[in-house]
């Protein structure tokens, strides 16, 4: 069952075709990898899907069952509320807020009370806030961050910041999660831990995941399907094994001796 489909997705910056005519399908429940050389346009694809950029041409459709809704060109918050959440290649936490607040903010769309309750702190406000706190803590537990609830995000070690960013993305209860290089700058031991976590949240939240990553040990281990971009176009797609042995991918991206990982 399709969850997201991009058709002829194109984005150019001035003369530069960062993404050109990309067709891509992500099915419900899949874990798909998106790889490619630096500057290939991976992050730009994410930015197009999440509404950070409007595509130059092409469409993006998000499916809810059989019902499809085009989402390209919508504002990012609308897309988030439609069920797509992301992390950033350069971590973008609310650095000066606490870990708990980072997650609570992302729970915003599930809030049920209105302005009146908020100004007067009516019982409804109290109930809902309590729920938000409880749910946030639950979420943080998954990432072992519940002990650091009141830390400022900036004071977390780098790896935990990556984790917190994923937790924050999950707080908006997405159907589709986009992860942009979650293992960058994380050492191999922690990368292994990360792949565990990705698997776990996928199971727990019934998630579909699209993942950008240069660390092949992670990509090849957990992705079910992989798209490879080069110069803005899809040059290959298929299972990890197919990709590993694809000549074009090897010359453009992997290199001869990187596959042993």
């Amino acid at each position: 069952m399709k969850l997201l489909e991009a058709k002829k997705l194109t984005k150019s910056f001035g003369g530069l075709m960062a993404v050109s005519k990309v067709n891509m399908v992500i099915n419900q429940g899949e874990l798909v990898g998106l790889i490619g050389p630096n500057g290939a346009g991976k992050t730009t694809v994410f930015n197009l899907i999440t509404g950070m950029y409007a595509p130059t041409s092409g469409t993006i459709t998000l499916f809810d069952g059989s019902h499809g809704k085009t989402i390209h060109g919508l504002k990012p918050h609308k897309i988030c509320n439609a069920g797509i959440a992301r992390t950033f290649q350069n971590i973008r936490l609310f650095k000066d807020l606490t870990v708990l607040d980072n997650v609570r903010i992302a729970m915003h769309c599930s809030v049920k009370y209105g302005l009146l309750s908020c100004f007067l702190h009516l019982p409804r406000y109290r109930r809902d806030e309590q729920r938000i706190i409880d749910e946030s803590i639950e979420l943080l537990k998954i990432f072992n961050l519940d002990g650091k609830m009141d830390e400022l995000a900036r004071n977390l070690p780098y790896g935990e910041q990556r984790h917190l960013e994923i937790a924050r993305a999950l707080a908006s209860r997405p159907k589709l999660l986009l992860l942009d290089e979650p293992a960058a700058g994380v050492n191999p031991a922690e990368t292994a831990q990360l792949s565990e976590i990705i698997r776990k949240v996928r199971r727990l939240f019934n998630l579909t995941i699209l993942l950008i990553e240069h660390d092949m040990s992670l990509v090849m281990k957990i992705c079910e399907r992989i798209y490879v971009l080069d110069f803005g176009s899809v040059i290959a797609s298929g299972t990890p094994d197919e990709i590993k042995s694809n000549e074009r991918v090897i010359t453009a991206y992997l290199g001869e001796d990187a596959i042993d990982a």
Partner: protein, 295 residues
């Protein structure tokens, strides 16, 4: 027609004054992202220094101008060292409040010493400066010519400094990333001081010229043109040197035409209304590029 041409001349000379002050705002803003409220007070002090040179030391216009520029340069650097430098790591708005403090200090310090009364320059100097050309109904004074040419000249020089010279490159690097600039071997403190020195020298020159042109100075004389110049700088795209000039001329022109064609009571309102409309279309100012941060 005559009237129209005259109004253009009026607009250009008024605009030059805004531009001259705006250049200083934009320089300092460009490097440390600070709206240096004290800038318009350095301008005011420049005017007073010029005044005292001419009135009590009986110096001519040029030496007075030079002295004012030198003293203002020192003052600008001093202000930076005392009031802004310790706040390098503080939020921008904290520095802004400090700048307001410095501005109040200069205004009221000056007022305490020289009283709030207006001062005028010695009549013989004023007279010699207000000579001009008359073409039919159109008036053009040497002062106006001088202010316009000084403004354009300084703009070009500044732009060249920033774009072409080593120190200019250093200024831009510092403005983007202090640490990285230091790693390139750039002396960050010197670079910032240099920027303040440059901006303040400009303010000093502007103070003397404008003071002479209108022949009226007082301790609060910086407020009004300071505000307008600041608006001009933002309008052109703050931090961009040609932007400051275009902004200055724009505001000067709009003011002149609104006032000149019978709406002087609504002048400021019209200026701001146009400004807002333009900002809505070009949110980063006329020359500013509205780059959405890449994520």
């Amino acid at each position: 027609m005559d009237q129209f041409i005259q109004q253009i001349i009026n607009g250009i000379s008024l605009g030059s004054i805004y531009a001259l002050i705006a250049l200083g705002y934009t320089m300092v803003y460009g490097i440390i992202k600070l709206i240096n409220f004290a800038h318009c007070d350095v301008y005011m002090l420049g005017a007073y220094i010029g005044y005292y040179c001419m009135t009590f030391l009986h110096l001519g216009v040029v030496p007075s101008l030079l002295i004012a520029m030198i003293l203002c340069t020192l003052l600008g650097v001093l202000i930076e060292k005392i009031a802004y430098k310790p706040l390098r790591n503080a939020t921008r708005i904290a520095v802004l409040i400090t700048a307001i403090g410095v501005s109040l200090f200069l205004e009221y310090g000056t007022m305490y010493f020289v009283s709030p009364q207006v001062r005028t320059f010695p009549p013989h100097i004023v007279k010699s400066m207000s000579a001009g050309i008359k073409l039919g109904n159109i008036n053009l004074t040497f002062m106006q010519l001088m202010i316009v040419s000084v403004t354009v000249l300084l703009m070009v020089l500044l732009q060249l400094t920033v774009k072409r010279t080593r120190i200019g490159k250093a200024m831009r690097a510092v403005s983007l990333d202090v640490d990285a600039a230091e790693l390139m071997g750039i002396n960050v403190d010197t670079t910032i001081s240099f920027t303040f020195a440059l901006g303040s020298a400009l303010a000093g020159a502007a103070g003397v010229l404008v003071g002479l042109y209108y022949n009226s100075i007082n301790p609060l004389m910086g407020l009004l043109p300071g505000l307008k110049a600041f608006v001009a700088a933002v309008f052109g795209g703050i931090g961009i040197i040609p932007g400051a000039m275009i902004g200055g001329y724009f505001i000067g022109m709009v003011e002149t035409f609104v006032a000149g064609y019978g709406y002087s009571m609504y002048r400021d309102a019209v200026v701001f209304a146009i400004l807002i409309l333009i900002l809505i279309v070009k949110p980063a100012g006329l020359l500013g590029r509205n780059v959405r941060e890449k994520v």
